[in-house]
Symmetry: C2
Subunit: 348 residues, 2 copies
């Protein structure tokens, strides 16, 4: 019911394009020119955040490979996650301070909030926490490469929840494209051990599906929050999202790494690559927020899928990886999926 | 130039629906009813030949697996091919004799022919002969499983030649579907050794592409021949096609198995399964002809691809085969391809 409400308010809310709003008195042709300019700037913004997310996600995967190659680092993942949230929060605050200095504090940029507005912000962070906790248990049933393959279920769950919760229709051809995206990404990741995933016990499948639903739900819910108040400044929205992210990650530290942090210190095992990874995760996180606000979850899924393929190609040059036939076939299917999705959009 | 001519004559030729032609004097509504009935019967015929081809192709692959499991048979492949052509020729003649008895010999069912009509019939058989000869040389560069994978290039070559030679347009979405069909079929056949195909030397790739073009060309040319004279009885057309098939296969026997046939006899090494396989190949060959006459090469490619998937599923039950994750992913992509192809057809 809560999501239904968010969606309905979204419909009533004023569109993002303030210049169209303010041109009420002008003749139609002038209005059209304005609308086109604003449409164009919205398209530019959407495209640039999508590109940023794609690049950040692929460099993220490359950093992970790099850190693995450089040897294992014994830092606590929970403290790193906490640092990511803290950095994102600080960056949002810095951006806000700049805006306040230049334009003064307005209704849309003020940090203070109502219970009604802020009450939904903890939900995505809580969902991610539950998902991350489940992650430790699923490895009792699936190995790490198998988990990578099962994670592609996220694509389908995001599509289904996007349809159900945000009540946005996808055309049949876009559903076909989504199924292809999932199949193509999985194909691109196939290796000689992938068939073991078919022996996953029933509990493993259930957990994988629950995790995919949690992850998809968190994504779609974040989009609902960001779009519920289109005129609200994104940095304020991010600030509140990340404050709760910090809080939930603090809980995770207490649960999982309390002893390690107490005995070896908060920053034990941090290295240059750890710092780079935290920086990268923080920037990707902000890019995800921007994609949620200015584009949608479908764009996010395509963006991160294409990033996965980019990563593999870049890894050939950086680490001398070999591309498999499965990778070529998967990439072909993903490319056709991107094409079909855009065809579906044009037909709308 | 020759193919252009064939296509142009095809355009001028009378449509297959004789009942529509003969209803010239009737009112429009009666004509429409007639047209619908004839459309329906054409659709029924198209569907049933497609089903027949799919079933025959899958049972063909199952017979091959069965014969491999039962042990090797030392028969000459060329004599078996010759027997297939002879059997097809005999079956066409029997069908013709039945028609002559019932309806008498007409312009469309008479066996006698002009040089102009018969001159194109040797071409598909000649193309297949060249392709089969090349097949012996490609194994210097690719192993048998790799060849199975490269054979999927046939799908693309058929689509391209169908477009170029028969001048039939495929919608963009149908091209996308065709690329997916090729990627999906290849994915479904992936196994742990498939990556070796990427090490195929340049000559191997060229030969694979030439073979795909020859095979696609033979298929598209056969369609052009069958459709050049739509009212000509299919059994007459088949008879002439298969006569040249017999002739070219006789040449192949002389080239490849002359010594074996001379020393051990024509039917050396034949077994019950060999006979079943010859029977199956003959019936599939006739089904292919019918698909060419009443449907087209695109339908043929889809039909044989779906047959490949059917074979794998049936083999699970018959031979206890295991289906791989790659098979599931490939089948999903092929299914979406079939869906997109039909969507593209409806939009036409």
């Amino acid at each position: 019911m809560e999501y239904r409400k968010i969606k309905d308010e979204d419909k009533d809310a004023a569109p993002l394009t303030d210049d169209v709003e303010s041109s009420g008195g002008k003749p139609l042709s002038a209005r059209l020119v304005n609308m086109e300019a604003s449409e164009r700037s919205r398209w530019m913004r959407k495209t640039s955040v999508t590109f940023a997310l794609t690049l950040l996600t692929s460099s993220q995967a490359i950093l992970i490979v790099w850190s693995k190659r450089a040897g294992k680092y014994e830092y606590s993942v929970t403290t790193a996650n906490f640092m990511v949230e803290t950095l994102k929060c600080a960056l949002s605050l810095l951006a806000l301070i700049r805006i306040w200095r230049n334009e003064g504090v307005t209704e849309d940029t003020r940090l203070s909030t109502t219970f009604d507005e802020v009450s939904v912000y903890p939900i995505p962070a809580a969902l991610y926490l539950v998902k991350n906790l489940l992650q430790y248990y699923i490895f009792a049933y699936v190995d790490a490469p198998g988990y990578q393959i099962l994670k592609n279920l996220n694509i389908i769950s995001t599509g289904v929840l996007y349809r159900i919760i945000l009540k946005k229709k996808l055309r049949e051809i876009q559903w076909a494209a989504f199924i292809l995206l999932c199949a193509g990404c999985t194909t691109a990741q196939l290796n000689s051990n992938s068939d073991r995933v078919l022996q996953t016990p029933f509990q493993g499948w259930i957990m994988a599906i629950v995790m995919a639903l949690l992850s998809g739900f968190a994504g779609v819910y974040t989009e609902a929050i960001m779009k519920k108040r289109p005129s609200r400044n994104i940095n304020v929205q991010n600030f509140w999202l990340y404050v709760f992210g910090m809080a939930f990650n603090a809980v995770a530290i207490l649960f999982q790494d309390f002893d390690a942090v107490m005995n070896k210190g908060f920053f034990h095992g941090y290295s240059f690559i750890t710092v780079l990874m935290i920086l990268n995760h923080a920037l990707s996180g902000i890019a995800v927020s921007m994609v949620m606000k200015y584009a949608d979850n479908i764009v996010k899924v395509y963006s991160t899928s294409v990033a996965m393929l980019l990563t593999a190609v870049v890894s050939v040059f950086l680490f001398g990886f070999h591309l498999s036939l499965a990778f070529f076939l998967g990439s072909t299917v993903v490319s056709v999926s991107v094409y079909l999705h855009s065809v579906g959009k044009l037909q709308r």
